[in-house]
Symmetry: C2
Subunit: 382 residues, 2 copies
């Protein structure tokens, strides 16, 4: 069904949830035969009342944590498990690969059953609302009508605010991490240029790159490096890399880069080899058209399209909320998370706002685990 | 002599100063028959003691202000003139086009007299030190052995710190604006990705694009848009653009963009049309190889290569200094300017540090003229 799904290991923790058919898209158009890939940890109780639905950032798969069939560490490995902040002794945790992504969920890299061809740019416009609703439908496919908690970082932190608007009564608690209820013009500008880097690469070929080729790798590499720069902070890099030259570890990346650019024009500093390594990992697995759709969906999201934010939250059925923001995040500024918290409070929902001073910027949720662990553990136990 | 020089209007305020022949480059190699383009305003006094040498940021030409032969407004029009902050009733002001740039000065787009061919990637490695020393030699070509003041913003703010190291006794006063004495890993990362965008464009062709063609325009466009994002601030854009859609003014830019990308994938927000307009202006005039050389020179500059900073300044002959930094500048952080000021003070040089709260980020010196006017006027009058 999905071009990329073929690449998944045959034995895997990934499961697939059918979405309602047709699945109507928020901005028009519909999908038929659509599915979401997900993984889960812990046991669903008899009342089906202990489920946590976890949305991801732009690029991860549903593999948030390891399990017997998929033992490699997940993207939030140290947060999910028995006795961990997201305690799988108490909760049934499911992480969904976003609608529109390429790790088993339906998206632009999937086959359109009506034509037998890959959707590519004929995929309908994707909205953050679609990602939210598809995630909820994946939970409903397991018989879960109300989640204990809906949670997500980054894009996922936007998705949970959309969830409050489009899945009324769908969750009792909400955790929004380093998210936003409307992209800032600064973030829009950054993502627009990232997409332009991909679309300017002749190998993109208006989305018609060959299925078994790697497509606009040079453009994807530039886009991912730009993204990586915005996911951390200048202060972290000053401490971590300073002006160090190429390390031995980075030498492989240099050699790879030197094959593409003339001698003397490749990387010279350790920070460049870090970017190279991050880009290489991403380019190898992420479908360029899916990237464009997800990136644009983030730009276009604005909770105001659903009405006044406190009114939306008041009608959402959310009874308690945690919002986390990071001081050094310059992509999704802490003021944006503060706004989400204020809107939830204005709706009369008891809301904790955790303003963290982590140095790691937007990606702090992946790195500064002690602070995130404490905030999330405290909330889920409350 | 210079490929781009041909494009200058026949009647122009631009003059050319011959550099010593050969002109030895800081990191090795030498130029023969090299020149700097410059413009000047005001009169040099009989003692040749009233000269201000102005260096530019990465992209401007020597056209800092208008004059009868070149009446179009310059890049610092409202700062230079009779009675203005840089008062041409008192000072002889000369602005140089940086060595390595493409507006009349010798650089990778110039003809190498030894071969009769354009230098391109055979141009020797360019350093910030070369830009500083070439500027000083241009002043010496006019018989000026000591400047009243050496001044520069952005790249120019780096160049003046290099000037203190390589042109001892060359200036009595120094003004460094939004500069740095060593690029941070964050700035290095941003510029490395910008260069990669240019070098990834197949039209770059390892620097061998045709002389009369526009070369890697798509890559240059992405690079300049990335740059533009880092020259302003998120807060300024939130106020200026918010989430506004395309304006009528921006429609032309959209149409131009839609010719390159499929319908629905072009700009949707006002901020995107601003980026498009900025990129279009730049791509039309700036030589891609020159851009790569200047960008890399900034990455590699580190005053520590000359010794301990206060020692360098103590030997420089500088008797008084002004350093200006802007709170909202995230490309050249205000802490970097504070460091320059501290090093000057540690050298025993009376130094004013102006920490400005302009919202316009790195480019504030082009926009927030009242604050820059006051700081520079006060210093030059003191």
């Amino acid at each position: 069904m999905n071009a990329v799904r073929k690449q998944l290991p045959e034995v895997s923790a990934v499961r697939y949830a059918r979405l309602p058919d047709p699945f109507e898209m928020w901005k028009g158009g519909a999908l038929s035969g659509a599915q979401l890939a997900y993984e889960s940890w812990g046991q669903l109780n008899a009342e089906r009342s202990n489920a946590i639905l976890l949305f991801t950032g732009l690029s991860p798969s549903s593999h948030a944590a390891s399990s017997t069939p998929s033992p490699e560490p997940g993207w939030w490995e140290r947060m999910i498990g028995p006795g961990r902040a997201i305690d799988t002794d108490r909760f049934f945790v499911m992480c969904v690969n976003s609608l529109g992504s390429c790790f088993g969920s339906t998206g632009p890299a999937s086959v359109n059953p009506a034509t037998g061809k890959i959707w590519r740019l004929n995929f309908p416009e994707l909205s953050v609302e679609d990602i939210a609703r598809a995630g909820f439908e994946a939970a409903r496919a397991l018989g879960i009508e109300q989640l204990d908690t809906v949670m997500g970082p980054s894009l996922g932190g936007m998705v949970v605010t959309a969830f409050a608007a489009v899945a009324r009564g769908g969750a009792r608690r909400l955790v929004s991490i380093s998210g936003s209820s409307a992209s800032s013009p600064f973030a829009i500008a950054l993502r627009a240029v990232q997409r332009e880097a991909v679309m300017s690469d002749p190998a993109w070929n208006n989305g018609q790159y060959a299925e078994n080729e790697r497509g606009p790798q040079a453009g994807m590499r530039v886009a991912r490096k730009m993204g990586t720069i915005t996911y951390r902070s200048a202060a972290e890099w000053s401490g971590r890399f300073g002006r160090s030259g190429l390390t031995e570890v980075g030498q492989r990346a240099v050699e790879s880069a030197l094959a593409r650019v003339p001698p003397g024009f490749g990387p010279r500093f350790a920070v460049e080899t870090y970017l190279e390594a991050q880009a290489e990992k991403f380019v190898r697995v992420f479908d360029p058209n899916c990237y464009l759709y997800l990136s644009r969906a983030m730009d276009c999201f604005d909770i105001a399209e659903h009405g006044v934010a406190p009114d939306i939250y008041r009608r959402s059925g959310i009874a308690k909320a945690l919002v986390i923001g990071v001081e050094s995040d310059f992509l999704f500024k802490v003021e944006e998370q503060e706004q989400i918290a204020r809107d939830l409070q204005a709706a009369g929902i008891p809301t904790t706002f955790a303003h963290l001073h982590s140095i790691e910027g937007h990606d702090a949720f992946l790195v500064d685990l002690p602070h995130f662990d404490a905030a999330i553990r405290g909330f889920l136990n409350s």
